[in-house]
């Protein structure tokens, strides 16, 4: 099947719409993964801290 990427005089409207959609998805994916990674690391760090401190006598 022939792919038509030539939008002619409508390119000035069409490509920004596709570009903005790509950017929006890139932000949603990047932000969601960054948050997931941050809280995974933070939780692992705190769990290790709790575990390390479990054997220590209370002050």
């Amino acid at each position: 099947m022939h792919l038509d990427f030539d939008a002619g005089k409508y390119a000035v409207y069409m490509w920004p719409a596709f570009g903005i959609s790509v950017l929006a998805f890139a932000w949603m994916i990047g932000d969601s993964l960054a948050r997931a990674r941050h809280w995974k690391r933070e939780l692992e760090r705190l769990q290790a801290e709790v575990k390390a401190g479990a054997g220590e006598p209370k002050a």
Partner: protein
């Protein structure tokens, strides 16, 4: 007695984490495949005799508009469950879908405006459909602002949930605005439209695939964000425990 509810895997945080661990990447992969095929069909579809090449904008604008309403419905349901049952996962589900819903609504508004200029001769018109979608966007922003404005997380969650429920009133207005009023925005031409208004298969397929791709992408990102919120809640509880020592 073990009277386990069928949706227990979604209400129990441990089971939810086990379920979402494989479900999030699975939905992401489905979205990728559907998106690629949908984009291929988008640019393989012939020009429309009236809309010419701008018809391709339908395959990114309409799915974004569908998602803006669907996500708000999820936000409303999750907020209702969080308010009634004070369920932490329901609250996380509501909190996680709000920024995604706001982005899809912004996309619907911007791509609609870029489509409107060459077809209607205007970037914007205060007609019922466009105005009600703008109101939907403002409800999303209001929800996000309330959640971040109040320091007490429980109070913020409660206030935002009430706002989300109030905003549900706007959903039927968005959906039926093109039927209730004489608007510049055209009526539905997809699956639930009258047969004489329905898109031909050559346009219906790319629309359907792109809509399913958007839906799967949202499903994947929603689960990823809920997982992050579940971990944040646990991390904060641990930090509190450490501080009390």
């Amino acid at each position: 007695m073990d009277a386990r509810h069928p949706l227990d895997f979604l209400t129990n945080p441990e089971r939810f984490m086990a379920f979402s661990r494989w479900a999030a990447p699975m939905f992401g992969a489905i979205a990728g495949v559907l998106g690629l095929v949908g984009l291929y069909l988008t640019f393989a579809a012939p020009e429309d005799y009236q809309q010419h090449d701008t018809v391709r904008m339908m395959f990114i604008h309409v799915p974004a508009a569908v998602m803006s309403m669907l996500i708000y419905l999820f936000l409303g349901i999750a907020s209702l469950l969080a308010l009634i049952f004070r369920h932490a996962l329901a609250d996380a589900a509501a909190q996680a879908c709000a920024p995604l819903g706001a982005v899809f609504t912004a996309l619907a508004l911007v791509t609609g405006s870029l489509w409107g200029k060459p077809m209607w001769g205007t970037w914007w018109q205060w007609d019922a459909r466009m105005t009600s979608v703008l109101v939907l966007f403002l409800f999303y922003l209001g929800y996000l602002a309330l959640r971040s404005a109040l320091e007490d997380e429980q109070k913020a969650a409660r206030a935002a949930a009430i706002l989300a429920l109030v905003g549900l009133i706007n959903l039927p207005v968005v959906k039926f605005s093109v039927e209730w009023w004489n608007t510049l925005h055209q009526g539905s031409s997809t699956l639930f439209a009258a047969p004489e208004n329905r898109l031909p298969a050559v346009y219906l397929w790319p629309w359907a695939l792109m809509t399913l791709a958007y839906l799967s992408a949202f499903g994947s990102l929603w689960l990823v964000r809920i997982r992050a919120l579940v971990r944040r809640r646990k991390a904060r509880a641990l930090a509190l425990r450490l501080a009390e020592r």
